[in-house]
């Protein structure tokens, strides 16, 4: 009777419970460290996408968190936002730094993603992120060749979907910032 249904269910249930119990402890133990690293990564990203900023502060507007960057004289030089959207496989989080007055993007940095390593994962690479350096606000077009106009984004070869998804996340981030900061004026 070693293989009776009851025995099978019992074995897997006990194993599952023990495993869940152990992992609950591991999770509790590692979570504070993981949160700390994420906060540090976020801080690095804010400074990376707001060049020239020496300090920043978090501002909440309409339920959204913005990062306002200030230079040494205390002048606001730009606004960054953490934008999230669906990627090719799971969510992508991108830090987008902008100058709402000049209506341009300073730069972006991908914080989290689950894209295919070797293909879509290149959205974290300098070559792809460079697409968005000093880009004017607007609707962008993803192209499969080097960009010729400032409104074009060069796709990663073999990862057009990932490239397009990040581009639309950036577009959404720009709209959020424009809504909160008016832009232009």
């Amino acid at each position: 009777m070693n293989n009776s249904t009851g025995r099978l269910i019992l074995t897997l249930t006990v194993l599952g419970l023990v495993s869940a119990f152990i992992l609950a402890f591991v999770f509790q133990w590692t979570l504070p460290y993981i949160i700390k690293h994420q906060a540090k990564a976020q801080e690095r990203a804010v400074f990376a996408v707001l060049p020239g900023a020496s300090d920043y502060k978090e501002v909440e507007k309409d339920g959204q968190v913005f990062f306002e960057g200030f230079d040494q004289s205390g002048k606001r030089i730009g606004v960054a936002i953490k934008a999230t959207g669906g990627g090719f496989q799971g969510m992508i989080t991108v830090m987008v730094g902008t100058d709402p007055e000049a209506e341009k993007v300073y730069g972006i940095q991908v914080l989290e993603h689950q894209e295919t390593p070797g293909l879509g994962a290149f959205i974290t690479g300098e070559k792809y992120e460079a697409n968005f350096i000093d880009k004017p606000f607007g609707d962008y077009k993803v192209v499969k060749r080097p960009a010729t106009s400032p409104y074009e984004v060069e796709a990663i070869s073999g990862a057009t979907i990932s490239s397009t998804k990040v581009t639309s996340i950036v577009e959404k981030a720009i709209k959020d910032i424009q809504r909160a900061y008016g832009g232009g004026a």
């Binding site: 070693n2 293989n3 025995r7 099978l8 074995t11 897997l12 194993l15 599952g16 495993s19 152990i22 992992l23 591991v26 999770f27 133990w29 590692t30 979570l31 460290y33 993981i34 690293h37 990564a41 689950q114 390593p117 070797g118 994962a121």
Partner: protein
């Protein structure tokens, strides 16, 4: 003596990468830099060791019909542990291995050794087997990533070795480079084995 043989088995005769050719997904995917190769090798060794210990201890309690799901549960527990551990204490490594840490669960090297060895052998032999297989896997990953990083970026462990005169072969860090270098290395291993052991034992 038997323990030593169990240990040495994984290092050469049944090296998972070069001889058994199992667990290829991480082998091909993460060996573009030596740091990644070493980290993946050690993470897999840890999961293999811990899983073989537990499975060897509980093998008599597990009904035959549910042994595979039970092994996967044990393996998944340790893989999740490694995943959290790397994220908490080695975030750069966790970021560069990203998806491949959770994928250790389905590395057939681990399930293969659990099924073929730990479920049939006592604890001490399972430990020797897992260490042999784990280190065999690790040195194979290190060798492969050394070839790829040196040719593809001119560096080892991120330190530039070859000077500016060297034009990096970008293909070596791309997936195709993994297949090319793995194929050549397996060929070399086969050639060496053919010449040293005159095929005395059966396969």
């Amino acid at each position: 003596m038997q323990l030593l043989n169990d240990f040495k088995n994984g290092l050469w005769n049944e090296n998972p990468t070069f001889r058994l050719v199992i667990g290829m997904c991480p082998v091909l995917a993460v060996t573009n830099t030596m740091t990644n190769g070493l980290a993946m090798g050690l993470a897999t060794t840890f999961v293999l060791l811990a899983s073989e210990i537990v499975i060897s201890l509980i093998k008599k309690l597990i009904p035959n019909d549910v042994r595979i799901p039970s092994y996967i549960l044990v393996i998944a527990t340790f893989v999740t542990f490694v995943d959290y551990f790397l994220k908490a204490f080695f975030p750069p490594i966790a970021a560069s291995l990203s998806l491949f840490v959770p994928l250790i669960v389905v590395n057939c090297l681990i399930l293969g050794r659990a099924e073929a060895f730990a479920s049939k052998n006592p604890l001490h032999r399972s430990i020797a087997d897992s260490l042999g297989m784990g280190f065999g896997f690790t040195w194979a990953l290190l060798l492969l990533s050394a070839v790829r990083e040196l040719l593809g970026m001119g560096s080892m462990f991120g330190i530039q070795i070859l000077g500016a005169w060297y034009q990096p072969m970008v293909i070596m860090v791309l997936p195709a480079g993994a297949f090319i270098s793995l194929g050549i290395l397996v060929g070399i291993m086969n050639y060496i084995t053919k010449n040293t052991t005159r095929d005395t034992h059966c396969h």
